[in-house]
């Protein structure tokens, strides 16, 4: 048996278990209590909760009694509707509620879509809480390992920075088609020679300065959204220069939502009072068939 409980780890584990037990004894589980258990569980793994621009409650009352927890990539209106329909009134998301990493409520508060979204949550006794930085802080990063598992490339994956895969060699076209199949989407946009032989693939998002760290070391970089006006143009020029490199762009959802699917088995033991389920965002982009 390989599990090794260190003195520190054991103490922390007991700590989060006790925290969970104490909350159970106090009555119906609230969103705030569930968050306390998440923080305790993270602490047991060595991830200390710190001030974050991103993580925290975004909509609704933290004291709402929970009927169920839905994890997701981003709490879009569609996700909120589906969570509500499934009887889950606590939505835990990885990305923002209001269309910017920082959830700038002051900027959007007069927007009718903002008002409708907040009203929808409040009228149904729901709450939305975001965990971005602290979920990424686990090792291995569950967002990356979740993608690796979905791709069927877990054994090819290295979590060391820059994160990457070393796969059995195939063509760039073959890689792109494989990604389409595994991620169940046609939305795989590529810049590079389709016949390029690919053996190493970086996992670097989302801006060119970061993508470059992978491009310089690996045959291709898999990126979940990147601005086309710089990354695509750099890639075009690199190929024109003769570099045997490529960029493969997928939706942010398809890159990262698998890590929130893995949040479910992770949190379930800590919140036995309520059901927990993942709601897939799918891919927001539809690729129309074309007569080419």
């Amino acid at each position: 048996m390989e599990s090794a409980i260190t003195r520190r780890g054991f103490g922390l584990s007991v700590g989060w278990a006790l925290a969970a037990g104490a909350a159970r004894a106090a009555g119906p589980l609230t969103a705030a209590q569930a968050v306390d258990r998440i923080k305790a569980k993270l602490a047991a793994e060595g991830v200390t909760w710190k001030t974050s621009y991103f993580d925290g409650f975004k909509i609704g009352d933290p004291q709402v009694p929970l009927t169920g927890i839905a994890t997701c990539f981003q709490p879009t209106f569609s996700i909120l509707r589906r969570a509500s329909a499934a009887g889950m009134n606590f939505v835990i998301s990885h990305e923002s509620a209001f269309w910017d990493g920082f959830d700038p409520v002051e900027v959007v508060k007069d927007d009718p879509v903002y008002e409708a979204k907040v009203r929808f949550v409040e009228e149904r006794g729901m709450a939305v809480w975001r965990i971005h930085d602290h979920w990424h802080a686990r090792r291995p990063d569950p967002i990356s390992s979740g993608l690796a598992a979905q791709l069927g490339w877990l054994s090819y994956f290295s979590d060391e920075r820059p994160r990457h895969y070393t796969i059995p060699e195939m063509s760039l076209d073959g890689v792109a088609r494989y990604v389409q199949d595994r991620l169940e989407t046609k939305n795989v946009v590529v810049v590079g020679d389709p016949q390029l032989r690919v053996r190493t693939i970086g996992d670097q998002s989302h801006i060119l300065s970061v993508v470059l760290t992978g491009l310089r070391r690996f045959d291709a970089v898999l990126v979940g959204e990147t601005p086309q006006h710089d990354t695509f143009e750099y890639m075009r020029d690199a190929v024109a220069l003769g570099q045997k490199k490529a960029v493969i762009m997928i939706a942010h959802e398809r890159l990262e939502e698998w890590g929130m699917r893995d949040f479910v088995p992770w949190i379930k033991p800590a919140v036995p009072e309520v059901p927990v389920q993942w709601i897939s965002s799918g891919d927001p982009f539809y690729i129309p068939p074309l007569a080419v």
Binding site: T76, V108, D173, P194, L212, H229
Partner: protein, 289 residues
């Protein structure tokens, strides 16, 4: 033989013609080369790619006027995050060096004219995109200072317009958010990025607008940008969908308009518009597959 002038002199003429719109936006203006080099002929393009610079060198073009920055510094007031650390990351980059070598060897000035052009003709890029797709902006436009334009069109679908984008813009990776087969009769056309979200919200304020044709998202295509907002507009129940034709393909037609205008104020300078093909592709079903 064309009259010889300098980049500096050309800048003064353009600036005066635009009513002194030249902005001090970061990463714009003279980006590579020397404004005091002699200029004999010009090329207008979306992106000053390596291929365009090679061709410019081969054909003796000395001025390249572009929408984007030669070294990928898009900048923009809304999202400096995009260029954070990029300048340092590109130091000693072989791609940048290859472009600089052409610039220096052939005394080519690369001049980025983007914000100033948008300030001067806010709707030029989107109007050019609309016309390239066979659409006509309505007259008068409800918001003349908006970047986007509104077009009425014969009942169609965004799926059909994606084919038009493929055929006419040579857009290789058109994508749709929302129902691709819903009927559209009034669309907002917006070259480039859909950000900022407040701009997109204002552009589609008319409830009769049932479609958007744009280039791409902004800071990051959807999650932290206007496309995630758009998903919620759809999710809130509005019958609207978006066709993203690709950033470059959406901005290319505007280059032709810029070249046309530049010829009118610089009649002695030979000016050509050089569009570049969309470098992206999406794996398509194999024949018989």
């Amino acid at each position: 033989m064309a009259t010889e002038t300098t980049g500096w002199a050309i800048e003064q003429i353009l600036n005066a013609a635009m009513g002194f719109q030249m902005s001090t936006a970061m990463w714009e203006g003279a980006c590579a080369g020397n404004v005091h080099w002699p200029m004999r002929s010009a090329v207008v393009c979306y992106a000053p790619t390596l291929e365009i610079l090679r061709r410019a060198a081969a054909e003796g073009k000395t001025l390249v006027v572009s929408r984007e920055h030669p070294f990928y510094m898009h900048g923009g007031l809304n999202y400096p995050y995009l260029t954070e650390g990029l300048e340092a990351a590109l130091k000693d980059d072989p791609v940048v060096q290859a472009k600089m070598e052409i610039v220096d060897a052939h005394k080519i000035l690369i001049y980025r004219l983007s914000t100033a052009w948008d300030n001067f003709r806010p709707q030029a890029q989107s109007t050019a995109l609309a016309r390239a797709l066979g659409l006509s902006p309505i007259e008068p436009q409800p918001s003349p200072r908006s970047r986007g334009v509104i077009c009425d069109l014969r009942r169609t679908t965004l799926a059909a317009l994606a084919q038009t984008a493929y055929d006419r813009l040579r857009a290789r990776s058109p994508r749709i958010v929302g129902d691709p087969n819903a009927a559209v009769t009034r669309v907002a056309v917006l070259a480039g990025e859909t950000d900022p979200k407040s701009g997109l919200a204002a552009l589609i304020a008319d409830p009769k607008i049932d479609g958007v044709i744009a280039g791409a998202g902004g800071v990051i295509d959807e999650v932290d940008g206007a496309l995630s907002y758009f998903q919620d507009v759809v999710g809130a129940g509005r019958g609207i969908a978006m066709l993203a034709v690709g950033y470059g393909p959406s901005e290319e037609p505007g280059g032709e308009e810029l070249a046309r205008w530049m010829r009118s104020v610089l009649p002695d300078l030979p000016i050509e518009w050089w569009p570049a093909p969309d470098p992206s592709w999406i794996p398509r079903p194999r024949a018989g597959g």
